[in-house]
Structure formats: structure tokens, C-alpha cells
Assembly symmetry: C2
Homo-oligomer: 228 residues x 2
Amino acid sequence: MSGRLYCVGVGPGDPELMTVKAVRILSEVDVIAYPHSDRGGAEAVAFRIAIAACREIENKERIPVHVPMTRDRAAVEESLRETAGRIRDALEDGRSVAYITLGDPMIYSTYFSLGRTLKEWGHETEYVPGVPSFCAASARLGIPLVAGNESLSILPAQGGIPKARENENLVLMKAGSKMKELKACDELMDREVAAVSNCGMEGEAAYYGVDAIPDDAGYFTTVIVRRR
Amino acid sequence: MSGRLYCVGVGPGDPELMTVKAVRILSEVDVIAYPHSDRGGAEAVAFRIAIAACREIENKERIPVHVPMTRDRAAVEESLRETAGRIRDALEDGRSVAYITLGDPMIYSTYFSLGRTLKEWGHETEYVPGVPSFCAASARLGIPLVAGNESLSILPAQGGIPKARENENLVLMKAGSKMKELKACDELMDREVAAVSNCGMEGEAAYYGVDAIPDDAGYFTTVIVRRR
């Protein structure tokens, strides 16, 4: 019988913010697959969180998933099929596999292409949701994301800031490298702005007010923008 | 010394989707405060989730927080101050208090006014983030919320559906009572639409395609709308 396949969100950084289910699944599976790049970043972080919450995974079989940092589509495709092949082999050997991902598996995750390929090959993924980074940032700042009749938009920072709708709050993800440009945006004028870098991780810092955020705030910076 | 005050997200419904930290805090505190209304709904649900994950709370002191179903602002304000007073008394007696809320404390939570009042009285809240319902709905459906350069907007269903921006996906919260109107919206044409009712709870049901969603899908229905 084929093994079970999971994609498990490990939450925003603090290992204690993993769900009870995530810890159980990681302790039960045979194989841990995890994103890994030469540049470190989000990839190494997901594994560090998981191992801190669930020591048993240290002794499990691992499949590091290399995410090539290139725009060469053929190279990306080849790498993807090679990794998917390794996961399929484990599953068809009857071993269960959990792919771990930072935050929640459905929000800007590295798993989508892999999951689609494995589905085409007959292996369905069970997704285990996690706490997204913006929820942890908001909790750290003590500033609500959305209340009453408001709406909330989550945006990748590299796209800039759109004109906000009425009663719309914004979350800008991975804003660090774009901070200087973001701070110059008219849309931030007269709004309540706050940010957290490295939330729940080493080097955590919180900033209240747009001028308080340093231009070099770092990759894992989440910015919250609210109507006053 | 004054006791500690927490607002703890218990996640979307499945008690196993509570975080390790949420379970620990609930087992440690002296008093559990929880939203409670005569109509049941979200209020009774948060307590049921918490007690399923953490049996000890059965024997703890409880402060049920009545949320009056009225537009009479004076009545709401009076009820709020009465509840805040009970929580303050416990804190000033040196007891720790955790207020529990469905999903994540920063997303459409019942705690904001209470937390603001307690802050004015000198009691800061520590927020413990939780898995939002839309993450669980997306995991259940196997449909990503947001990827690549897309953005995601979370909207209360009663406001209708705004014209979507380029690359924007939508989540409509608590859509059940508005389903008939929503299904008639032009913005849903030519989009990928799916929904979950009572995700992780009794009576869970998943629907793929706008026509599959029943008009009376129930209060706890989350709709996901994606560009194809």
C-alpha cells in the first residue's frame, strides 16, 4: 500500500506555535521532505522550527528539496521532477512523507508545483494548516488585522502598494528588501503603520510608525497598514 | 502582583489545530474567559474546541462574556465594562486569565473592545495567534489561497464582492446567510470558486464550483475565489 503524503505548515517561527496536529504528523511519518537552498533563508528556517518542536525527526529519513535560484524553466522543471520522483519512490515503498513549509501551506508556499506533480502521478496531499506569519506579527504588535466590516489584503511587497479600498487594511509580506520604496508610498500617509522583523525568531524587532522602520529591515519583515 | 492576561486563538474547529502554546497557556492559567451568547454560534464553539484539547479547563474558574445582540450602544458599553471589571478583579487578585477566541485573535475577533478597555485600566494583553478558518478551509479543499505574485483579500460576506484587482484572490467569511446574493455576483463568473461549511466541525461539507454551493450553506461557510 502506498504511504500517506502530507504538507505541514510549521507556523511563523516560534516552535510552540506549531499545531498539535503538525507535531503529531511529524512524529508519525517515516520521511521528512523540506525546502533547502544554498542561500538559506525561509528554507533552512522551516526545518529548524520543526526539529525544535519535534526532536524525533532528527533520526528520520530526509529528502532535502533544492529550490534552484534561476529563471531557467527547464532547470526548475527538471529539479522539480527529480524531487517529486524521490517522494513518489518513498510513497510507493509504503513510507509516509511530510513536506514541511514555513507558516501556512496555502499562503505563498514552496509546495504548490510539487503537490501538483505528485497529484498527476496519483498521490493526493493532505494539507495541515499552520499559523501564518502575519497573524504572529499582528499578535506581537498588539494591532488587530481586521475587525467589524473591514477587509484585509495580503500582498507581496515587491508589487508595491495598491490604492486601498474603503475600510481595507493591508499586510505587506517579505517587505524588507523593498522598505525604502514602500516608505515613500503615498498610500502609507495618514495610516497606522507598524512592522515586525524576524517575528518569533532570533533578531526579532517591532516598529511602530512608518518612520521607525529601518530601510534595511531584512527579508522576514511584515508590515501592517491600518485605517486610523 | 497582578496576574497575566492572554487572548488565545483556539483555531478553526479541529481541537488538534490548536497550537502547542495555546494548549500550554490554557493549562497554566487560573481563569478562562470565553464569549457566550444566548444564540450559541461562534461563542459556544470556542469553548468546546478548547475543552476538547485541554481537559483541565473543566475545573478552572470561568468568566462567560455575554455579547449582547443589540444595537443599543449604552447596553453594549455597560455589558463590556461589567465583564472587563470581572477580568480586572481576577488579575488584581493575582490570578492569570486567558480569553479564548475562535480562529486567530487578530481576525474578526470578539476581544478587541475588551482588550482596549483593560489596556486603559493598565492591563496589557499577550496575544497567542491561532490558525484562521480560511487556512483550514483552503487545506480542506486542496486549493491554494495565494501564490507567486498574487494577492489575497479577506472580506466579510455581508459587504458583497468588490471588483477584484489583477492577480487578486478572495476569501469571503461567514458567507452562509448571504449565499444566494453572492452566487448571483458577476465577479464570480469565470473564476474558480469553492467553499467549506463547518470546517473541522460536525456537519463539515466541501463544495467545488459556485453552482454546487447550497443557498442555505450555514453561518460558518468560507468561500474561496481564485483567478483561473
